[in-house]
């Protein structure tokens, strides 16, 4: 009996000691981690909103962002507006193998895509993840999102609503297509109401 009590007490004491250490470390690093994430989001928002900035000059990124992008919110929902009234917002939803998060930008008339970026994913490296490369996502620029955007895994996109997918990334392509359509439909009423 005594042995068991010692066991429990030992683990409890060690556990609380280590937890305290972690809390201290967390206190130091949390603001820095948050700032890093914010910067990453700002960089990506500026990329899809077509705002030129100097990626090498760390200090100017935040300044360029605040000068060119207006951050607006409506309830819990935050969106971003560039000087020529293009709108960008964060998106999140299921991918083929895990959650996808990113941001998309649409033109001021809610008709066309301005840009798409994916910030985190769990897709297959080398196959699904190729869809999230900047070079590929450029194809989405100027495409019509009304009534729906289509990602064709076999290629051969003709109309303004269609984008070529990538062979070997069919499921991820479908996931991306659904994510864009779903998020667009969710966000449009919120923003147009507040405009």
């Amino acid at each position: 009996m005594k042995e068991r009590i010692i066991m429990v007490v030992f683990i409890l004491i060690l556990g609380s000691f280590l937890t305290t250490a972690l809390v201290i470390v967390d206190n130091f690093t949390a603001p820095k981690i948050k700032a890093n994430e914010e910067k990453k989001l700002q960089i990506n928002l500026m990329k899809i909103l077509d705002i030129p900035f100097d990626e090498k000059d760390e200090s100017s990124i935040k300044q360029t962002f605040t000068e060119n992008v207006e951050t607006l919110s409506k309830g819990d929902f935050t969106y971003y507006k560039s000087k020529n009234n293009d709108i960008a917002f964060e998106i999140a939803g299921p991918g083929a193998f895990g959650p996808l998060t990113g941001a998309m930008a649409i033109s001021s008339d809610f008709e066309r895509l301005k840009g798409v970026t994916i910030l985190s994913n769990s897709e297959t490296p080398g196959l699904g993840t190729r869809l999230f490369e900047e070079v590929y996502l450029k194809n989405y620029k100027g495409k019509k999102i009304v009534p729906e955007i289509k990602v064709l895994s076999g290629g051969g996109a003709k109309s303004e609503n269609e984008v070529d997918g990538i062979t070997g990334a069919t499921l991820t392509g479908v996931a991306l297509q659904n994510l864009l359509n779903k998020e667009y439909k969710r966000v449009k009423p919120i923003i147009s109401e507040s405009e």
């Binding site: 066991m7 030992f10 060690l14 556990g15 280590l18 972690l22 470390v25 130091f28 890093n36």
Partner: protein
């Protein structure tokens, strides 16, 4: 003054065993998972090695200091919570100060928790030896892990990306050997590294005669 007189006879043996004759990666094939996964770039290998060395040092310090207090029935749980704490510290530190590196390493930093070298050394050495020798053992095993990782990473980055530490070193007509950048390349290179070190260190495996 030789290394032997500085660290003492036992300390010297501990170092030699860890770094060479009882090499954690090459002799006992521990820590293979991360050695295969993150060795496509030298930068990643360095970050991973630094993380593992840090976690090994902190774990050896804590476990060997507490070794007389740890109830033997819960010793594995003790290792786990100590290792998990150290790894979380490394993960937070990288996320805060080296975000691109942390992104490149992905889930492999949190997975240091399951690196068998740390668990293995805790059970086989730290819990039975004094703090001084445990720290020497941690350094030795950490270094052994690091140089085998670096050996694999140098070959893979050179062949797979045509660069060393991110600097292109190959001539203009160089064709990257993509296989080396992919996970399967790691199997080939690690296998060869294992072979070379085992032969040089004269490591004999039980049941592998003839």
């Amino acid at each position: 003054m030789s290394l032997k007189t500085i660290v003492g006879a036992k300390g010297y043996k501990v170092l030699k065993n860890g770094i060479w004759s009882d090499h954690p990666v090459c002799s006992t094939t521990l820590g293979i998972c991360s050695a295969l996964a993150i060795t496509n770039k030298i930068e990643n290998a360095i970050a991973m090695s630094a993380g593992v060395i840090f976690v090994l040092l902190l774990t050896s310090l804590l476990i060997s200091t507490l070794r007389k207090l740890i109830p033997s029935r819960v010793r594995i749980i003790t290792y786990m919570i100590v290792i998990a704490t150290c790894v979380t510290i490394v993960d937070k530190f990288l996320k805060a100060y080296f975000p691109p590196l942390s992104e490149a390493m992905g889930p492999y930093i949190p997975l240091i928790i399951t690196n068998c070298i740390i668990m293995g050394r805790a059970e086989a050495f730290f819990v039975q030896n004094n703090t001084y020798h445990s720290i020497l053992d941690a350094i030795a095993n950490g270094l052994a892990y690091s140089y085998s990782l670096l050996a694999v990473a140098v070959v893979r980055e050179f062949l797979g990306f045509g660069s060393v530490l991110g600097f292109t070193v190959t001539p203009a007509g160089w064709e990257n050997w993509v296989l080396m950048a992919l996970p399967c390349g790691a199997f080939f290179v690690l296998g060869i590294v294992l072979w070379i070190i085992r032969t040089l260190a004269n490591i004999e495996l039980p049941g592998a005669k003839g």
